[in-house]
Symmetry: C2
Subunit: 117 residues, 2 copies
DNA sequence: GATAGATATCGATGAATGTCGATGTCTACG
DNA sequence: CGTAGACATCGACATTCATCGATATCTATC
């Protein structure tokens, strides 16, 4: 399978000019919307921010769970959503799982929305 | 009522540091998420881009309707969502309604996501 | 003021989503 | 190996959401 057929949302976002520069193609919009959906939730937005702003650039799930008034499966679910679209990287070390934010993906997404101004 | 109690989502987004700089407060995340939800839909993303990239910075609903394979009420609904969060401004001239993108809101949102890198 | 056209609102419906408790999997350590 | 702890998956439930057809509102024109 060619790589272009398996582009993750974060790979897609790097290739488009800003919203205000040219009308977004239908196909492009449909690939980018899932990325925005992923961060369009208060819990996931905070999760992403917590991980991205964390000291070493990564955070352990064990730390994240305590930051919310939500069950452990719910946090796990939200992390999975962020991971699936490619905004978070996962690495398991021993019993613990660490997530790391993909900063260049965030930068690309940011300039897609706010760029060209 | 004081103005701070009626902050629209776009007014909120201007006041926060980027995601990666510091963990987003719960309250802040809950005010910004609706903004992201508004653009986290392929149709609305294209609508916003169509309006923002349009020649005079504004677009007539009559032009937008034809760009989608959707019913007129559906387009009207999506425009309303974008308008309610403050990403689109509405102005009626005669029988026609024109929408204009709030560029500074888009810029603020973009730097919230991609800034600080 | 009756008519036509542009846009918004309403009510209904099927699909997607956030949350939970229960359970499964995997790792380390007695 | 059996137990404990960290995290993921599963199945269920309530809520939200995108869409539509029907209808209302508003404006210009005849």
């Amino acid at each position: 399978m060619s790589k272009s057929l398996t582009l993750t949302p974060v790979e897609t976002v790097a290739c488009c000019s800003p919203l205000v520069s040219a009308p977004l193609a239908e196909e492009t919009a449909e690939r980018i919307a899932p990325l925005l959906k992923a961060i369009a939730d208060p819990v996931r937005l905070r999760l992403l921010s917590l991980v991205a702003a964390h000291a070493d650039g990564e955070a352990c799930v064990c730390d994240l769970n305590g930051a919310f008034d939500l069950s452990q499966p719910t946090i796990s679910h939200h992390l999975k959503v962020l991971h699936e679209v490619g905004l978070l990287e996962r690495s398991k070390r021993g019993v613990w799982v660490y997530y790391r934010a993909r900063r260049e993906a965030l930068a690309d997404l940011g300039s897609l929305i706010g760029g060209g101004l």
